[in-house]
């Protein structure tokens, strides 16, 4: 075996916070051979990013390496002087960050920024540095590189900014590249392009790569070896395929089960006793009675904003009671706008919406709170942190629609009903008196769902309900939603960018792009055998655990 490029021994990182020291990394040891690709996988709070920042010594001022050694090419990084660190940054190891646009200087042309990185390590003329910067832009496949040299970050898309970031990182040929959630926040097709580029460049130049990510599929596709972290500790490490096919550690098992893949079923997401669906037999979904009007009938919906932009060009759909329909698309596809209009929180510019045979599209959104259908159409919002009023307790949040829409008054009946809703979403009733900031993300998500189902609606619009949640929490929430749907005969309009989730949760799926419907059909058929190029592109871009890693070939 060759000598490791990087060797971490018993690393501890401590952050000093207002509540005293918090240990974010607790005794991590790992090693990395030259040219190897390693994935560090974990949920939020696992310490995976902190480990990366400790290796590059770019921790926040509040964070300190409290114990352990980091050897890079046999040099002790933890004791390095600032001058040698500066020398090492960029030329020996470089980093790629989350949020690429924020990572670039907003008021400096990207060409100049790449040239800065080159000039930091080599004494060449400014002209020569610019020439090399241009070559690097070509290497990261930026179109029109001559023109882009003088562009500023705000003129580029997120994916482009990440390529510029990659160009800066590789400008002085480091032997180690650490990528911290490099594609979080990017669309799935962009993610694939950026990750393929990164993998190719690393392979070409023989750079070792550490990919820090929460996405098991991503790690499986691009890394030969993967380590799993939980609460600052390394719980398991193995070859990617072995790890995901036959996980050893209970946490890894949970994590692998919770990550939706092309073949996952909601029932299998959660292992052991926490499984909500194990106890509930899969009730047959209600078949629509012939002759009754569909629950939701939307025709030729169009949305133009005041500034002239068209968010939705034309949208029509029909939905039966108890049916679940997925609405997928990348950012800017108009999926959120559509869901807001169907919920009557936003007025459409054109088009009709019929609910249960009655027109609701003609009611302006500002008056819909008085409409009888208000309690029948409810919504669960994306970010649980932002979906609860900071001044309401959990109880108030759930009680609010009951008081407004079901006409209940403060009293025992209301208390009883709120507790019942809370227990249906698995929220312990002693948490009802807490404020949002005292609750975890998963608990807040449950409150958001309890609030939406409190008045027993018939249509529930779910706007990326789990996008902000860790995958193990997502698994529980998805199970919960599925159970509620079966029990109440609820109809779902499930808005998401995550194809695997939609495939699992929805009977039918509609694919949106740039405000228009690209394709629609039965979920499994649509994803297994897409009819349009765009849907195929989407499906292929999703990294799945089952796929053989591309990096393994190189």
């Amino acid at each position: 075996m060759t000598k490791p490029l990087l060797q971490i021994d018993n690393l501890h990182v401590t952050f000093s916070t207002r509540r005293g020291p918090v240990e974010a990394v607790r005794g991590v040891s790992l090693s990395l051979a030259p040219g190897e690709t390693l994935g560090i996988v974990g949920e939020s709070g696992s310490g995976k990013s902190v480990t990366g920042f400790a290796v590059t010594r770019l921790l926040d001022p509040a964070g300190k390496i409290s114990a352990g050694r980091i050897l890079f090419r046999d040099r002790e990084i933890t004791k390095m002087s600032n001058a040698s660190l500066r020398e090492m940054h960029g030329s020996a190891m470089a980093m790629i960050f989350q949020n690429p646009r924020g990572a670039l200087n907003p008021i400096r042309a990207i060409g100049a920024q790449i040239a800065d990185a080159i000039l930091a390590h080599r004494k060449i003329s400014a002209e020569a540095a610019r020439g090399e910067a241009l070559d690097l832009l070509r290497a990261v496949q930026i179109r029109d590189p001559e023109k882009r040299m003088s562009a500023y970050p705000h003129e580029l898309s997120g994916g482009m900014c990440q390529r510029v970031m990659i160009a800066m990182a590789i400008s002085s040929n480091p032997s180690l590249l650490i990528a911290d959630e490099p594609t979080t926040g990017l669309d799935v097709t962009t993610q694939k392009v950026v990750m393929d580029l990164l993998a190719n460049i690393a392979a070409e130049r023989g750079m070792a790569t550490i990919l820090i990510t929460h996405d098991l599929g991503l790690a499986a596709r691009y890394c030969r070896r993967v380590v799993v972290m939980e609460q600052g500790k390394l719980v398991e490490q193995a070859e990617a395929l072995t790890l995901f096919r036959a996980p050893n550690h209970p946490y890894t098992k949970r994590l692998v089960a919770a990550s939706p893949t092309a073949t996952s079923r909601v029932e299998d997401l959660v292992t052991g006793e926490e499984n909500l669906l194990a106890a509930v037999p899969a009730a047959p979904l209600p078949t629509p009675v012939h002759g009754t009007p569909p629950l939701l009938d939307v025709k030729n919906l169009v949305k133009r904003f005041d500034d002239g932009t068209v968010a939705l060009k034309s949208f029509s759909m029909v939905m039966a009671a108890g049916e679940s329909v997925g609405l997928v698309g990348e950012s800017g596809s108009g999926k959120s706008t559509t869901s807001r209009m169907i919920c009557r929180l936003l007025d459409q510019s054109e088009g009709t919406i019929n609910f249960n045979g009655e027109s609701i599209g003609h009611l302006p959104a500002r008056d819909f709170h008085r409409a009888p259908q208000r309690r029948d159409i409810q919504i669960v919002f994306q970010d649980p942190n932002e979906s609860l009023n900071p001044r309401f307790t959990a109880f108030d949040c759930i009680a609010h629609p009951l008081m407004r829409l079901a006409g209940m008054r403060n009293g025992d009946a209301l208390r009883q009903r709120v507790r019942e809703c809370a227990s249906r979403v698995g929220l312990p009733s002693d948490l009802l008196e807490r404020f949002p900031h005292q609750l975890s993300g998963g608990q807040k998500a449950r409150i958001g769902i309890a609030r939406a189902i409190a008045c027993r609606p018939r249509l529930l619009v779910l706007d990326e309900p789990t996008a902000a949640l860790d995958v193990s929490v997502q698994a529980v929430v998805l199970q919960l939603l599925d159970r509620l749907r079966r029990e109440d005969g609820l109809a779902f309009l499930f808005v998401s960018h995550d194809l695997n989730v939609v495939r699992m949760m929805c009977q039918r799926t509609i694919v949106l792009r740039n405000g228009a419907i690209v394709e629609e059909g039965e979920s499994h058929a649509l994803f297994d055998n897409p009819q349009t190029a765009y849907t195929r592109e989407l499906v292929e871009a999703v990294p799945n655990i089952e796929l053989t890693p591309v990096a393994a070939a190189g």
Partner: protein, 282 residues
């Protein structure tokens, strides 16, 4: 307020005792403003020409002025007027600004544009000059100092409330309130405003110091309050005539009072901001 908020406040105060001192200072100032007239050693407007222009001594802690009046007593009594002007001015702009700003920030559209134009016009004037002009136009009276100070403060509150509401109007919990059957107006007044108010109270506290300086400045140049009423700005103005002959106490002590009052409110505002949002701490 929940007990958690109190705990948080206690935690902040322990780490930042200055806020505690500022709070005590502000409380003390309020007590002086209310009871000043009963606790001062001398009548603030009775002249005693025999003892005019005496430097600070045991009998007269802050010396006497050109009419032999006790400067210390006058400073204490003046607290009432100065604080009353600043508080009522800031209170008016706070209430008006919060409601107008919140409505604009939520609704956007025509109302927002119209109010925006109005604010632009107000902001096109240097504010102190605007206040001067308004007092001149409305009449040289104390009420008009209050009105003028309130109006020049208004743009800040409108903009602040507007911005705070604007960033929140599309948050999940606001849309959830509407999905739970609330009308737009009730969303603004019962949901958004209460969430924006704490931050605005901080602004108010920071603004109070500025309003005190502003009102004192107006009376310094001879607008609003008239002699012989004890008021910090006027006292400095009267003392100014004697500064070239070295009678420093006539300026220094009322000036010190002004400074301490402003300092208290500013530090209190900074501390409140920390308590409300530890992240904003710089």
């Amino acid at each position: 307020m929940s007990s958690a908020t109190f705990q948080h406040a206690a935690f902040i105060l322990r780490g930042n005792p200055i806020t505690g001192i500022a709070a005590v200072g502000a409380a003390l100032l309020t007590v002086l403003a209310i009871f000043g007239l009963w606790i001062v050693p001398y009548d603030p407007i009775a002249s005693d020409v025999a003892h005019a222009l005496m430097p600070p001594s045991a009998a007269h802690w802050a010396g006497t002025d050109q009419l032999g009046r006790d400067v210390f007593s006058r400073i204490i009594v003046a607290a009432q007027l100065d604080l009353a002007i600043a508080l009522s001015a800031v209170g008016i702009s706070f209430v008006l600004g919060a409601v107008i700003g919140a409505l604009c920030g939520y609704s956007g559209g025509r109302l927002d544009r119209a109010v925006g134009r109005f604010v632009d016009v107000l902001m096109a004037f240097p504010l102190f000059v605007l206040a001067m002009a308004m007092v001149a136009a409305l009449g040289n009276r104390v009420e008009n100092i209050v009105i003028a100070t309130a109006i020049i403060n208004l743009p800040f509150y409108i903009r602040f409330a507007r911005a705070e509401v604007n960033v929140r109007r599309n948050l999940g919990w606001v849309e959830a309130a509407r999905a739970s059957g609330e009308s737009h107006v009730s969303v603004v007044l019962r949901f958004l405003l209460p969430n924006v108010l704490p931050a605005m109270v901080v602004q108010m506290s920071l603004n109070l110091g500025w309003a005190i300086i502003n009102a004192a400045g107006l009376s310094f140049i001879g607008l609003g309050v008239k002699a012989p009423t004890p008021e910090w700005g006027i006292m400095v103005a009267e003392g100014a005539r004697f500064i070239s002959t070295g009678k420093w106490w006539l300026v220094a002590f009322p000036g010190l009072a002004l400074m301490l009052a402003v300092l208290c409110f500013n530090l209190l505002g900074d501390g409140l901001r920390d308590i409300l949002d530890p992240r904003q701490r710089t």
